[in-house]
Amino acid sequence: MRTVIFRTTAPYLTSLMVLFSIFVLLRGHNEPGGGFIGGLIAASAFAIYGVACGVPPVRRALVFHPMSIAGTGLFIGALAGVISLFAGVPFFTGLWIYPSIFGVEIALSTPLVFDIGVYLVVLGTIASIALGLEEREKL
């Protein structure tokens, strides 16, 4: 798999896929998409990078350990539910704010925060399993 062509294109492909995964994540609130599918796309991006260039560069590119990313995502996801406590509504109630940034109204919500958490959980877990399998291949 480690041909020159693949190794040259893989970083670009990976960055494009990560970008696309974030697009899918943000699109997901009202249209098809969301944190789970976005996380899967991002995880496959890193898996492709791993196939092309080996696992150590992927670990360097991710900076944090995949399981730490998953843990952070779980924390963010659970936190999105707890915000309801301070708003006086039941657990996991969707709360919206509409700040206006540079004249553009942006809808921010706890479901979005939850989705980002899901994105990180899926990215972390799947990347961890995929990298684990790829690493073992070499032994």
């Binding site: 789970f36 877990t125 799947i126 399993i129 684990g132 399998l133 073992r136």
Partner: protein, 125 residues
């Protein structure tokens, strides 16, 4: 339509059970995957099949049209797919790891945790 899907689910279950009865882990794993898909189809069919109207409420109305598809089975199936996918990933790693370490994927010869020739407990001091 329900009848056709029921028959299909039956075939899925049949295949899954057949595969899971094998002593080889990889076949059991494939059986579990087929079983997961059979269950997803089953939940989907249990939510009753309707014409293909997606359960999305348009922006300009508050109450959806009465003929939309039932969204709940779709949510359940989605959850089940996510869970079975992550379990598949885990079990694949586990099976691969077990194959490497124990040099077999035959569950009949996997007797390290429960040795076949274990002696009976002592009857006295």
């Amino acid at each position: 339509m329900e009848v056709a899907l029921s028959a299909l689910i039956g075939i899925f279950f049949m295949t899954a059970v057949y595969l899971m009865l094998s002593p080889h882990i990889i076949r059991i794993l494939l059986g579990v995957v087929v079983l997961g898909n059979a269950v997803n189809l089953l939940i989907f069919t249990n939510g009753r099949l309707t014409r293909e109207v997606p359960p999305i409420v348009p922006d300009d109305v508050i109450v959806a049209a009465p003929t939309i598809a039932n969204p709940l089975p779709q949510a359940l199936v989605l959850t089940a797919i996510v869970i079975s996918f992550s379990f598949f990933a885990f079990l694949l790693t586990l099976a691969y790891r077990a194959y490497q370490e124990l040099d077999t994927d035959d569950t009949d010869t996997m007797r390290i945790a429960e040795p076949a020739d274990e002696a009976a407990p002592p009857t006295g001091y």
